[in-house]
Every structure is written in C-alpha cells, then in structure tokens.
Amino acid sequence: MAEFALQMLNISKVYPGVQALDNVNLDVLPGEVHALVGENGAGKSTLMKILFGAVSKDAGDIVVKGQSISIHSPSDSQKHGISMVHQELNLIPQMNTAQNIFLGKEITYALGITNPKTMRKAARDLIHQLSADFDVTVPVRRLSIAQRQMVEIAKALSTNADILVMDEPTSSLTDREIDDLFNTLRDLTQRGVSIIFVSHRMEEIFEICNRVTVLRDGKNMGTRNLSEINTDDIIQMMVGRDISAMYPKVVVPQGREILRVENINLKGALENINFSAHAGEVIGIAGLVGAGRTELSEVLFGARKADSGYLFLNDMPVHFATPRDAIQKGIGLLTADRKEQGLVLNLPMTVNISLSRVDKVAKANIINRAAQTKIAQKYINELSIRPGDTKRRAKFFSGGNQQKVVLAKWLFSDAQILIFNEPTRGIDVGAKVEIYQLMNALAAAGGCIIMISSELPEVIGMSDRIFVMREGRFVQEFKRSDDHQWPETIKSDILRYAMGEVALT
C-alpha cells in the first residue's frame, strides 16, 4: 500500500453555492513530477489548499506513505513532509536567505539566542544541494526572482519535505532560469522527492512532468501518463462540456466605431496592440495571467502611460494622462480588484456611486445629499442592488452587489465604453447572470464593452468578438459567424493560442 507517496481520496468541498471539489482523487508516486491542470475555478487551488491545511475538506481522506493522516493547519502538513512553494513568494525581503529559511525554527543557543553561524552554514548546504550558489547573507530583496524561488524551495526542504507543491513556479522566470529550475527539480526527484506541479503551460508540463491529473468543475477528469497523450488530449479533458445556457447573450446590431486603438506599446507588457470597438459590441479579451490584459485596460483608462500608440474616440485622437481624462471622455473601468480599486469600502453606497462625478450632485461645490440619495435609489431599482439601503457602507454588500455599486458609479458618470476586468470574479451564480444581463442592456443602449476575463465560458458566452492575448500581443481574433455562432472548437482554439501551443508569427 505504500506504493504512493501521497493519495488524496474522494475529496469534496462545498463553498456557499459552489461545489468546489466533488469526489476528487489524486495520487502521486514517489519521485515523480505530477502535473495538476484545469481552468481557473476548476478546483486546483482548493485541492492544494486542503493538502496544505489552509482550507478544511468536507469529506475524503489524505493518505501519506500508506497512512491516513488528518491535516488541520499548515504545520500539520509540514509534519507529514508536505511543503508548498507559493506563487507569490512568501519571503521577508529585508531578511537574508539563512534567516528566511529558518524563520520560526531558528537554531538557537540557550535562552533563545540565535546561532547565525550554524544557520548560515545549514542554509549554504541547502542551497548547494539545489545546485545553486549565491551569498546566503544578503537580504533576499537583492536576489533575483529565480534565486528567491530557490530560497523558497530550500525553505521547504529544510523541513525534510518529500512532497513539494509548486504553484505556477515558472510564471516569472526567464527561459534560462526555467532550465535551471527544471534541473533542480530533476535532482530532487532522483532523491525521491515528489513534486505536484500546478501549471497552465503545456510545453513545460510535457518537458518536466511524468503524469498529469486534469480537473474540471471540481471533478477529476482522469490521470494520464504524459508519454501516452498529447496537448490536444489534455485540452479536450479540460474543456469538455459546451457553454451552458447561463450566458443570456443578446447580439445587437453594431453601430459606428467608437474606439480605435493603434499600435500601443508598453515595455514588458504590451506590443503593437491594434483594434477597434463599435457601439453595441462586447469585445472579449482572453489570455493567461500575465499576458498583459490588465495593463491594456489601464492604458485605455489613462491609469498607466503607454510608451507609444494612439487612441481615437469617435474618430478623434485623444490622450489620457490620468483616469480623470478618460472618465471625462466617457470611459469607465471596473477593476479586477473591487475592494482595493473599485470601492471606498468604508463609505456609503451614495458616496461611492457619485465619487467620479461629484459635480453632478453638487452646486457650487456644496453637495446635495438628497440628490445623492435619489440617484442611489434609482440605481438600486435599475440594477436591483440588495439590500436597497442607500446609506449602507460598501463593505457590507455581497460581492455581486458591490460589483453593481461599481457599475452604478460608471453608469452615473455616463460612460460609453466600459472596461470590465474579471467582471464576475467572486460573485455567486445568480448575480453573475444579472451582471450579464446588464451588459446586454448596455450594449443594446449603444454602449461598448471590453471584457477581460479568465473564465473562458464567460468570454465565449458574452462576447461578439474575442481577442486572445499572449505575452503582450493580440495573437488571434475570433468572430461569431453570420448566424451568431462560434466555431465548434472555439474553446480549445482559444486555449491553444493563450497557452502558446500555436507558434507566434
């Protein structure tokens, strides 16, 4: 029975309104690199959080080396040799490598006096074991990203971990650094360490991994030997079902061109972006995290300055130095992070809605509170914001209603072009459909919507046209056919372009 290093058996987890994991199995052999793939929201991170003790499971068993164990906290999982290398590196930048590795488990003399010499030596040994070589006494903020990742791995190994979870470990590494990392991983597997490799990047999965487990909608779609299958098989397993009827898309006749973008460049983020958008149109922008989608939204909104390129609104050249300029020209941005960028959480709904156009509720700079409340009441009715309490602070609304408050802000500012970045992230299904219906209404009223989303079904379900972004470029455009249908293979096609299976020309 001790044939597996780790088995997760029949794991289930329900969040309010969502079955995040449904009887999922995952087994990992000693010394293998096991890929875990799936779309956003498929349940990968929930499964890994359960393994790491950050989230508790509703049902199922975790078996390590033949023994059923219970994990209630990260320290439980460490005790059983499970360690996680996080996507955002969890290091303290001002402290050096040795201090970071031994944080919380310092080697000490009596009375808790630390023994830096021994720790430095141990840290150096760990780093050397990873075939890396750098000074363990400099603050980690002065190390490269790749070196910091080595520190993370060393930190994980210092607890004698033999099961290592790596979440998108290559997302911010250069090609050379990735090669080095993979060499390190191969060394580790030689020593019997098992690695769970969470990634979107097919080439890398085929290069480094032995087996792959695919999750879709919280279900296990199967585990395969990578030597027996190809990328298309994996994508097919990831995609599966058709776009369900939860996208109430209404295609409206398109009007004139509202926005034209020419040759926008931003060093390290955007390369030669060109497109135009029309009245009544919903443009979807798909791509992986880091493909430059958010940067594009910020450039269009004046929140970030492009290195070069032109914007035209209604055929007139425009230049946005600040978001204020863009807002005055009728552009609104619903940021991906509602709480940090979309709302002032501590202020009531009324103030949040009128924030971008205080002038519309003020006379001679004196605010008319009654007018403010009336406007909030109007949007409560139009967008069915619940609860309909105009004085309620933004932080006390649910995710979906918070998003509606943000939307109300942009409707109140008379935005013609609305940029939605992850419009339904963290929103329950009911509110999602309402947001989609509002998009339809906006498009029907002659507005134009640019929707950035990592949820492919949403992009496909709601867009009239789709651009796929990769490495800062628009690599492919998809259009609906004359009878408003997408090609059969749209989903796997988008994934292929987004993940880089199709060579860039």
Binding site: A303, E340, Q341, L343, V351, L355
Partner: protein
Amino acid sequence: MSTETISPAVSPLPAVKSRREVVGKILNVMLGRFGIIIALGILCAVLTIHSENALGRQVFLTDRNLLQIALQASINIIIAVGMTFVITTGGIDLSVGSIVAFAGIFVASIAKEADVEGANQFIKILGSLPGLLIIGVMIGAFCGLINGGLITLVRLPPFIVTLGTMSIFRGATMIFTEGRPIYGLPNQFINFFSGYVGQTETFRGIPIPAIIALIIALIFGFVLNRTRLGEYTVAIGGNAETARLSGVRVQRYTTLVYVICGALCGVAAVILTARVSAAEAIAGQGYELDAIAATVIGGTSLSGGEGTIFGTVIGGLLMSVVRNGFNLFNVQVYWQQVIIGLVIVLAVTLDRLKKQQ
C-alpha cells in the same frame, strides 16, 4: 400534544431582553457618536459635584470658568480642525507647532512695524487687524503647501515630511528671531485677538479666540460634511487608489488639505501671539500632540477615511476640562499628563471596540 409543541414557535412573544443585550445596547450608545459627549458630561458633573463637596463653593460650573475653558481650548481646537482634515486623508502633520511659531514672528514683526510713527501706507494696511490675520493665514498656508507638495510630488510619507519640516520651520524661526522674543506689540492687536466681547459689570464677556474657534469649526464642519473637498478628503483617506481611478485629483486635494491645516495654524499663531503679547521662537511646542490627541479623542480614525469636526471640538474641550479641573483642585500638574494620556488610549480603544462589533 402537537399544539403544545408548536405554539411557542408560532406566537413570537416579545422577547425579554437579556441583561447582556441591554448592556450591549448601552455600550453601543457609549461607543457611538454620543460616547464622547457622555464622557464630557460625566466629567463636568463630577467636577461640579466635587467642587461643592471639597471646596464648599462652586468653582467649576461658573460662567467665568466655563468661558476660561473655552478660551484655553480655542487654539488647540483651531489647529485640531486642520489636523482632522489631514488625518482623515490618512496623513499626519507634525509641523503644526512650528508653523504656529513661524507665522507668529511674521505677524508680530509686521504689527510692530506698522505701529511705528510714520510707517508707510502699505505696511499700515498689512498691520491692520484683518491684514495681520491674512498674513498669518498666508504664511501658514505657504508652510502647508511645502508639506503637501513634498508629500504628493516627491511621494514621501507624511510622517517623515512633517517631522522634517517641524524642524525646518522651527529652525527658520530661530534664525529670523535670533532666538529672541518679539515684544512691544500694539495694544489694539493684543486687545482684539485676545479680548472679549459683550462685557458687562458682572460678566467678563465672551473671549474672541473662542468665537473665532467656533466660526472655524462651523465652517470646516460644513466643508468636511457637505462639500466636494470634504467628500474627496474622506474618499482619499478611505482608499486613495479607488479615488484616483474614479477621477479624483488625489495629489491636488491632498495638498490642499495640508494647506488648510497650515492656514489654520496661521490663525492660531495670530491668537497665540496676542495672548502672550509676544512672538517667541519656542512658541507652539507640543501643539502637534495636543491637536492629534483632540482629533483622536473625537473619533477620527488614524488610518484615515473617517472623521468629524464635531468630535474634534468635543475632544479639544475634553482635554481643556481635564486641565482646568486639575488646576482648580490644585492637583499636581504632572498628573494632567497621565490622565490625558489615559483618555487618548481609552478613546482609541473604544474606537477599536466599536469597529469590531
């Protein structure tokens, strides 16, 4: 049988409030917007009763003493109003005391200059009562502009910037005065800005500084509550990034808030100079802590996004009442510091509790 078990569920009797609920409710009111007024009321009641008991006559609750409290609180309140704006944006201004001293020497110099026989017409206009007030305000506003500019343009933390300018403005004051106080100010100036109105034979009159403080509190209470500037001040403190992405010119409005704080320090400088009949380079030391204390006791959140001028005024009065009470009963002066410190800690603790609820 079945009816018996169902009946309690279907007929909701008016629930007898548990003691815990009642206590919770009382606590809520205490912690809410009236908490600070209740605290002030209790303190006044205690001092009134103690006065009768200990001294056998009323020394606290007399119009003369109450107006004295208002007079003593006025300078702190004027500065604290500006501080409330600054803290509501999530910032802090440690340089207020130094601005008071810096503006004070200009006001005093010009007042003296204009008083000299044969001074030219321009100086005479500057040296008039409104002229001197405007000079104080302009100099203070200028100092605030330096603070705001450094904070928003160079993007330095307000704590560091104003810690620096606290020293710079103080040093500049020392340089201009060579450390010597400016005495011999015109009586007209002293009598007005530290004077009283409405005297009768039995009534000393209402102190003008208190009237000025009241007018300022009313104006800026309105500004914070009901104007675009106030709305932006709160929004910037609540979430500057959201404000920026909503088209608020965050830098401009943040700077403006420091300018307001500086300008109010200028007003305070005029009053202080008149009250002590001199401008001193060491004037206003420690005023930043008093202003921050009044603001915080008044319920303004140090992390920004929440603040009221009303609370600040009550906070300033509370500090004044504590000091006054201790003076009346000849309690050793050092105890005042301990008590005011306790009040600050208590106020912030209550605020924290309120937020956790």
